[in-house]
């Protein structure tokens, strides 16, 4: 049977790679070290697939068609796309998808009442490109993406995100054949993007979220409302839905915090967390 061999949670923000020079060197170095340590552990786990819980920033889904959950069926991902490469200061590169695996997940979901949308073409922004530049610098492991709407309210509830993640975890563990799957969720923690409070970070809330993750106790997070997350974590804090989905896929697993830095210059509370049994 297939197994989940590794799991990790990381921030994503275009400036993490786009403007490394504006961050305080000690903060940047600690955070980069956290990303690289996750990369080292991921590669040591020898996954043959990365399932990524991420979110769109309206580059794919517009207000005429906004899926709550969408499985990426793309055969390849430009990480980043040429349009985002300059902002993120990353060389455009192609990372393989796994459309057959993604289709099996999609079909199983629809069969089980998880009504995923799907897309054959995904434009990647920082949600994939920035973390993958550290985690999979060679880009040699194919990815499957599960996009959750965290950016254009109304949003799916955190508890529904947990349920969808739980379904993905069960689907992986129920698959015949030898498969070594790693899970990565990106986004968060607190940040305010494009709102009048742009630049605010709330380390207190970030630590509260991280404490729940460290204990593997996500139930209180699943009860948060959109308004509560917005008040304490900002519109960027809504991205903890991706983390909650991943934690839902590995019940009982706990988080080991490798780095947390509230980086004012990147306007984001940035964390990297290794998740383990």
């Amino acid at each position: 049977m297939a197994e989940i061999v590794a799991a990790a949670l990381t921030a994503h923000a275009p400036l993490i790679t786009g403007k490394p020079e504006v961050g305080k060197p000690e903060q940047r170095d600690r955070l980069y070290a956290g990303f690289r340590e996750i990369g080292r552990r991921l590669q040591a786990a020898r996954p043959d697939l990365l399932v990524m819980f991420v979110n769109d920033h309206l580059q794919n889904f517009a207000y005429n068609n906004l899926p709550a959950f969408c499985v990426g069926l793309a055969p390849t991902y430009q990480c980043p796309s040429p349009g985002g490469a300059k902002l993120m200061r990353l060389q455009p590169r192609t990372v393989r998808g796994n459309p057959e695996w993604a289709m099996a997940l999609l079909e199983a979901g629809l069969e089980a009442g998880i009504d995923f949308a799907y897309s054959y073409e995904i434009e990647s922004w920082d949600e994939l490109s920035v973390p993958l530049s550290f985690l999979m610098p060679q880009g040699d492991v194919p990815i499957v993406t599960v996009y959750t709407n965290c950016a254009a309210p109304p949003l799916p509830s955190p508890n529904r995100c947990r349920e969808v993640g739980a379904f993905v975890g069960e689907h992986i563990r129920g698959r015949a054949g030898a498969g070594r799957v790693a899970l990565v969720a990106t986004g968060g923690l607190s940040h305010w993007v494009g709102t009048p409070e742009t630049g605010r970070i709330n380390p207190e809330w970030d630590h509260r979220v991280l404490d729940h993750i460290a204990r593997g106790d996500i139930e209180p997070l699943t009860r948060l409302t959109r308004d509560e997350i917005e008040r304490d974590g900002g519109n960027g804090g809504q991205e903890i839905r991706n983390w909650i989905a991943l934690m839902g896929a590995v019940p009982g697993w706990k988080g080991e915090l490798l780095a947390y830095e509230p980086v004012a210059e990147w306007i984001t509370g940035c964390a990297t967390v290794w998740v383990h049994p």
Binding site: L58, Y63, P154, G199
Partner: protein, 72 residues
Amino acid sequence: MTPAVSYALNKLLTDIARQHQLRESVSDEEMTGHALSEPERAALRAGDIGRLYELGANPYLIRRVFRRRFTS
């Protein structure tokens, strides 16, 4: 509670964002054919990011299009 959403503003800002263009403001010409209210037009013309937010523009789109108007 879902915050105010202006479909017209988000449609126009999505169009601009997808061309990977940064703006200080949006011209009347570019607004032609969009079902925008007069306050929305005024805010776009002025590049007033706070007002656009109040009027229901998605903050990610505001950031993408008017990045230069942000101090942080």
